[in-house]
């Protein structure tokens, strides 16, 4: 009996899963959108987005017109800066900055070269449009580096023609190594980040939509009088949507991220998919909970977005966890995406295994168990 009961239970689960998949396939627009997310969207995020400064337009007010000033201007060039020419008064400079036509203005004072040659210290002014903080910070940082380089070369020239002397000066040379992404390819980070976001969104939305649709159309009553338990009604929704999402992640990884962006997968793909599966399960638990407290898809949508924003934000994808205020850092511990994020980058880019990631894995598993059981419990209370 027990074995027979189990087979029956299992058959019903499979039948319901197939029903969910069929229902999904019959909505071609939805399928098209899902595949768009996993391919075009991930591709665009990875290829187009670049958080480095490229070709920032800069103009110069040169009061000196000397060899030294030309030498300095010449250093503001591509790839970081794009020298757009000279302007003659501060008024024009201000209006150009106002309109956002240029990002920065370099102001070189009179007697620039003479003072330098006399061994006096000279200051040049750099006005940056910092309405966009990222651009403002990067532009200033590169400009500082450029002037420091100019300054150093100038000093070296003056300190003596024998450049062998430089090695015998007490200075520290910085030898840095950028790990995991030595060429600093933005595409790696951005495409993975987008993939994780898309996964979160679909994993919360699709099962919730599938559940609330039954309510909206009244078919939930039929299910309630059928011999199915509430777990048998809910689990197929999660399993079918989870399968679709895992398939999407695989497509995205093997057709877009790895071949297009040359991502070297350092860790185990098996572990990555296990983690993804666990995460989809966790996120759909949240989705199911939302489905139980709402009556229509409009409500589901609103609630999912409201819950998704903090989850995305507390994931550490846009702001590193250590830079967050303490309260936010505690809050991050209950955002499942935080663990998923950490583990995905650690597995794919850093080659970390279970030995290193066990604590994040445990955290995600615990959250998953809590969220999913809560969702099922709410549903059972509503239709038990």
């Amino acid at each position: 009996m027990n074995q027979h009961g189990f087979i029956l239970w299992w058959d019903r689960l499979v039948a319901m899963t197939i029903k969910e998949l069929k229902q999904l396939i019959r909505d071609p627009v939805l399928l098209l959108i899902i595949s768009y997310f996993f391919t075009v969207d991930v591709y665009m995020a990875g290829s187009g987005i670049n958080l480095n400064l490229r070709n920032a337009s800069v103009m110069v007010i040169d009061h000196d017109h000397s060899a030294a000033s030309r030498e300095l201007i010449y250093r503001f060039r591509q790839p970081y800066f794009d020298f757009k020419g000279e302007i003659f008064d501060t008024h024009t400079a201000e209006s150009l900055l106002d309109q956002g036509r240029i990002l920065a203005v370099l102001d070189i004072p009179e007697n620039f070269q003479r003072h330098l040659l006399q061994g006096q210290s000279v200051a040049v002014q750099f006005q940056v449009d910092s309405a966009n903080t990222v651009l403002g910070t990067l532009a200033t940082s590169y400009a500082t580096e450029i002037t420091a380089g100019f300054s150093q070369d100038f000093a070296a020239k003056r300190l003596g023609p024998d450049s062998g002397q430089r090695a015998s000066l007490p200075v520290i040379q910085n030898r840095y190594r950028v790990l995991y992404n030595p060429n600093q390819i933005d595409g790696w980070f951005m495409s993975i980040s987008e993939l994780l976001t898309v996964t979160t969104m679909l994993a919360m939305m699709l099962p919730a939509a599938a559940a609330v649709r039954e309510k909206e159309r009244g078919t939930i009553e039929q299910l309630a009088v059928s011999p199915l338990s509430s777990l048998q009604i809910l689990l197929p929704k999660v399993i079918s949507m989870g399968l679709v999402i895992l398939l999407g992640v695989a497509v995205s990884l093997f057709l877009i991220i790895i071949p297009v962006f040359d991502l070297p997968v350092k860790g185990s793909l098996g572990l990555f998919f296990t983690v993804t599966g666990l995460y989809v399960f966790t996120a759909s638990g949240i989705g199911l909970f939302v489905a139980t407290i709402s009556r229509s898809l409009a409500q589901v949508t609103m609630l999912v977005i409201l819950l998704m924003m903090p989850i995305l934000l507390l994931s550490g994808a846009w702001t590193p966890p250590e830079a967050m205020p303490q309260v936010m850092r505690w809050a991050m511990k209950i955002s499942p995406l935080y663990y998923f994020n950490e583990m995905s980058y650690a597995i794919l880019l850093k080659g970390a295994g279970v030995r290193i990631l066990w604590d994040s894995l445990l955290g995600l598993a615990l959250l998953g168990a809590v969220f999913f059981n809560f969702g099922v419990w709410r549903f059972r209370r509503q239709f038990g």
Partner: protein
């Protein structure tokens, strides 16, 4: 166009919204909620980078050098290790994002007037953060070097410290941050979020407006009635426009009073431009609602066309200048880019119609095109 009929549809829609209390509450809570979370959560300030140290010299000078990192607010000291092998798991698990290795004979070489080198390892998973961290490290080392050189020159050539300094670093860069003097990303982010939130929430309000009637069949009442296409679309649209226009004011208040961002522009101009923007974004939702057949598809499509451009193509997080050419072109296809210029121009730069007319006209054009597209795609005699 018969205004009585428009009013009838509007009134019916308004009643429907009011009766769904959860939906009605969310229509106002959602924008503010998203706003607060993102406003406090998104920050591009790279600070408190956790780091570890491998000091192979353990001298007074190496300690002095390391203290410059420990005392900096940009770095957060996590401890010493005794071998390079211990650094790998720390970096792989994101316990630290930066490590610095000091070679043996560090002090001895510096005191002998020789050059030495330190090695820094930077976690490059997010290239932007790696870039900024690299900048901080170079700045600290450059500062240390300048001091070391000054005392060296003062000692060996008998010059005053000032003379020596001018000789070592003759050129300084004075940066002036315009519009956002303290380089507070919160100012630009919080005002920029007006763009994001007003892009994301209005379409979700309207997206289900028509498709809901399609899915539960009540659209046939409309098909059978005497109301014209444009009267129906306008009637559906007005209640949501009203909600979103109120939301503009609420968000504006939050930007100024909760985040303390100053408003330097013309209030009437900005409000008018914002309403045009909301017509565009809510119109996007309505257009989707007219195009698709199921509610899930409508919600998903709305996510594609609202979240993605608002996050990635607007210039809020990722500067337009640093995008690839194709992405730059794409970003001009969405209204977000134009409204962000208007918002930053109004809030931070104090600009008005004379400088921003182009962007306002672009938004108006956008609204007109959306309207025509919606009108063309709504038929009272469905083909099926």
């Amino acid at each position: 166009m018969n205004l009585t009929r428009v009013w009838a549809v509007t009134y019916k829609e308004w009643r429907e919204i009011l009766r769904d209390r959860l939906f009605f509450a969310m229509a106002f809570l959602l924008p503010v909620g998203i706003f607060m979370v993102l406003g406090y959560g998104i920050s591009f300030d790279v600070e408190k980078i956790p780091f570890a140290v491998l000091d192979r010299d353990r001298s007074a000078m190496s300690r002095d050098f390391l203290h410059r990192f420990m005392d900096s607010r940009y770095f957060d000291y996590q401890g010493h290790v005794t071998s390079e092998r211990e650094l790998d798991p720390l970096l792989a698990n994101s316990d630290i994002r930066f490590a610095i290795i000091i070679p043996p004979r560090f002090q001895e070489q510096l005191l002998a007037g020789q050059a030495t080198s330190v090695q820094s390892l930077i976690d490059g998973v997010f290239p932007y953060r790696a870039e900024v961290a690299k900048g901080y490290v170079s700045a600290i080392i450059a500062n240390f070097n300048a001091q070391s050189l000054v005392s060296h020159l003062a000692g060996t050539q008998g010059k005053s410290r000032e003379q020596a300094l001018a000789q070592v670093a003759p050129l300084r860069l004075e940066s002036r941050y315009l519009y956002n003097q303290a380089l507070r990303s919160q100012w630009s982010i919080s005002s920029g979020l007006m763009m994001l939130v007003l892009m994301v929430t209005p379409p979700f309000l309207t997206a289900l407006g028509v498709v809901r009637e399609k899915e539960n069949g009540s659209i046939y009442n409309i098909y059978a009635s005497t109301i014209s296409r444009s009267e129906f679309i306008l009637g559906k649209f007005l209640p949501y426009l009203l909600i979103s226009s109120l939301n503009i004011l609420i968000l504006w208040w939050v930007v100024m009073n909760v985040f303390g961002t100053p408003f330097k522009g013309h209030p009437f101009f900005y409000y008018a431009a914002s309403v045009i923007y909301v017509i565009c974004t809510a119109g996007v939702g309505l257009l989707i609602s007219l195009l698709v057949r199921t509610q899930v598809a409508a919600v998903m499509l709305t996510m594609v066309v609202s979240f993605v451009p608002a996050m990635l193509y607007s210039g809020l997080l990722v500067p337009i200048e640093s995008m690839a050419a194709a992405t730059q072109f794409e970003s001009h296809l969405f209204p977000t880019l134009y409204y962000l210029r208007i918002t930053w121009g109004s809030f931070l730069k104090g600009l008005g119609w004379e400088e921003l007319w182009f962007d306002v006209v672009a938004l108006m054009l956008y609204a007109v095109i959306l309207w025509i597209a919606g009108y063309m795609n709504f038929h009272k005699r469905p083909s099926t």
